[in-house]
């Protein structure tokens, strides 16, 4: 027992001495699709916040001017030459970045993707902002939060064949029994076109006089539905909610047509990507299915069988924070 203890201490010391002289700092590169995009600027803010908490971490926030794979490869090549410790990338192309990122991994650099993923052979793990079941639950919860006595709700989706929306709606229907009194009366399709979504929302308002909420898990649909509710003079009677960009929904939050809606929070995304990259680069964690990694104030993630992890349920935006985020994305 004592022998094992001594061995463990010696190994730990050796590891510290072997790791220490190279750099005092862990250098993590946050590579984005293109610079000058509010969403990614916000992610960089989150990354800096995480670096401050972790200590001894330098964030290199970089990316090309044009959102192309070729330009991003040039950025990755220069990061390889700088011998950074980790690259956390939101990729412009899931396949074209693979050879360059494989080269980075061969030279001992930790590579993860976030937001927009890379094919499995080009990264150690991928961080999704959320997961289908979390999104499905959130869109129902958003409507239920403002309906303490329950009521009729309807879904206004994109096209009938839209893969993402169909998965989210299927997940939403699964959790429906958990929300007592919430009654899903119809699912209609606005094809992600403003005018068709507007007409479908009008149809819902007239067909279901007792309708209490319209849930649109698409940013085109939610804006059109909010406009239809406003034009029908139903503000306060029908709450419009779902997934949307804060900048597009700011006016409808202020008018009251929408109480709240959700989408991922880019600040948390950059923050969490930094925590994960740091844990993998310092060998505090290994990127393997089942591994759990702490992501600071956001909680923790567990890597799934497919090498992907989901950060958290979508972040809720309402009158209290819409002004701050409307300027970001």
């Amino acid at each position: 027992m004592k022998l094992i203890h001594t061995l463990a201490v010696t190994t730990a010391l050796a590891a510290v001495f072997a790791a220490a002289p190279a750099y005092a700092q862990t250098r993590i590169a946050l590579v984005v699709k293109s610079l000058g995009n509010g969403f990614f600027e916000a992610a960089a803010r989150g990354a800096e916040e995480a670096a401050g908490e972790l200590g001894d971490v330098e964030i290199i926030y970089t990316g090309p001017t044009e959102p192309t794979a070729e330009a991003q490869i040039e950025v990755v090549n220069s990061l390889i030459a700088q011998q950074v410790d980790a690259i956390a990338i939101s990729a412009n192309d899931p396949d074209a970045l693979v050879p360059a990122l494989q080269r980075a991994m061969q030279r001992g650099i930790t590579v993860i993707s976030w937001d927009s993923g890379v094919a499995p052979e080009g990264r150690e793990m991928h961080l999704n902002p959320s997961s289908n079941d979390l999104i499905g639950n959130t869109i129902i919860k958003l409507s239920a939060d403002h309906l303490p006595d329950g009521g009729d709700v309807a879904i206004l989706s994109a096209t009938a064949t839209a893969t993402n929306q169909n998965i989210w709606i299927a997940e939403a229907e699964k959790v429906l029994p958990d929300y007592e009194g919430i009654n899903l009366v119809a699912t209609v399709y606005g094809d992600d076109q403003s005018d068709k979504s507007y007409r479908e929302a009008q149809g819902l308002i007239s067909s279901y006089p007792g309708l209490k909420a319209i849930i649109a898990p698409t940013t085109v649909g939610i804006v059109a539905a909010a406009q239809a509710v406003t034009d029908a003079g139903k503000i306060g009677e029908i709450n419009v909610t779902g997934l949307a960009l804060p900048s597009e929904m700011a006016a409808h939050i202020k008018s009251g047509a929408s109480q709240s809606f959700a989408i991922w929070n880019p600040i948390d995304l950059g923050y969490s990507a930094t925590y994960i990259a740091h844990a993998l680069a310092t060998d505090a964690a290994t990127a393997e299915p089942g591994a759990t990694i702490s992501i600071g104030r956001v909680g923790e993630v567990t890597i799934g069988e497919d090498g992907q992890a989901a950060m958290a349920e979508p972040f809720t935006y309402d009158a209290s924070n819409i002004d701050e985020f409307a300027t970001i994305f």
Binding site: T62, E66, A69, E70, E74, N77, D93, D95, P99
Partner: protein, 334 residues
């Protein structure tokens, strides 16, 4: 051994300028100086620059574009231009990707890439020389046409699954840090230098660029040479498509977006007169190297891409303006 008759002849020089003086004041000398200065600045600014692998990675930033720039230099010297080169890459890469799905092996893929490039170039050349249309208009049209076909075939999908020996073309190393792409570029540069500066074909390109009508009356087959130059530009774009596709290991219709302007920047920075009639392959090779040094050097310092674009633009204007300013200064003094 000289005889009396010859010594009485007046000495007539082969050229009016002192060859040493004109070499020192040449565009190429200026470019070498710029390259050396940037190289030294890079070495001082970043501890990671002077490293065999870094320098090798640097070459990947320009080899594919430079391969096209060699042919584009000849085309612009003759007074024409081709804006469709990046779109040719997209179409050639898309058809290579399609061939992969049918199980075509590497040699077949390379042949398809080069063949499509050549065919696109011939199409441009036929429209310009056959219908006597301005090349800038024709190639703006084919730029949309070629890339449009790629989008029609692929949409938002991607082709992948290229055979593993195919990737050697874009990622392989011939010896140590010397990449296959670099060897291919150097080989092509030597061929183009010889063609432009040491053959009748090259002299005729300069003649056409200076005065196409005079060249025509001097017996130069202007239309045929221009057609050959368009084919050559298409061919080199096809080769670049093979290199880039092999490096990326996949094809999307947005591949090589915006490269036509970077290729033309290289050519103009290399001292080729955008109006035709003057230029050198040495200059274009140096310009390609400078652009690689600048983008990689600024990348090592994590300078944002937009600053890089500003720097390249500034460099282009400076290098073009300097000789003109010098000439004006000399004329005023004289």
């Amino acid at each position: 051994m000289t005889d009396a008759a010859e010594t009485t002849h007046r000495h007539i020089p082969d050229r009016l300028d002192n060859p040493i003086k004109s070499a020192v004041l040449s565009w190429e000398t200026l470019l070498v100086l710029v390259a050396v200065v940037i190289f030294i600045l890079n070495s001082l600014a970043s501890p990671y620059f002077l490293n065999a692998w870094s320098l090798s990675d640097l070459t990947f930033n320009f080899t594919e574009k430079a391969v096209i720039a060699l042919a584009m230099a000849l085309l612009i010297t003759s007074g024409e231009i081709d804006l469709s080169v990046a779109a040719i890459i997209a179409l050639a890469s898309t058809l290579m990707g399609m061939a992969v799905q049918w199980g075509v092996p590497t040699p077949g893929l390379v042949a398809i890439g080069i063949g499509v490039g050549l065919a696109c170039g011939a199409f441009n050349g036929a429209l310009v020389t056959g219908l006597k249309l301005p090349s800038i208009v024709v190639t703006i049209g084919t730029m949309s046409l070629f890339r449009g076909i790629s989008y029609a075939i692929l949409g938002d999908r991607a082709y992948g699954g290229y055979p593993s020996d195919f990737s050697f073309v874009g990622q392989g190393y011939v010896w140590w840090v010397i990449s296959f792409e670099l060897v291919l570029f150097v080989f092509a540069a030597v061929l183009f230098w010889f063609a432009l500066h040491r053959t009748n074909f090259g002299r005729q390109i300069f003649a056409i660029g200076n005065n196409a009508v005079a060249a025509q009356f001097s017996g130069v087959r202007v239309a045929r040479i221009k057609f050959v130059l368009f084919c050559l530009t298409g061919l080199m774009s096809g080769i670049a498509a093979v290199m880039l596709t092999a490096r990326l290991g996949s094809t999307r219709p947005s591949i090589a977006q915006g490269w036509e302007l970077e290729v033309i920047t290289m050519v103009v920075l290399g001292g080729v007169n955008i109006l035709g009639g003057a230029g050198s392959i040495t200059g274009v090779v140096l310009a390609a190297l400078i652009m690689g040094l600048v983008t990689f050097g600024l990348g090592l310092l994590n300078v944002p891409g937009i600053v890089m674009s500003i720097f390249i633009g500034g460099l282009l204007i400076t290098v073009i303006a300097l000789p003109i300013l010098y000439r004006m200064w000399r004329e005023r003094r004289a």
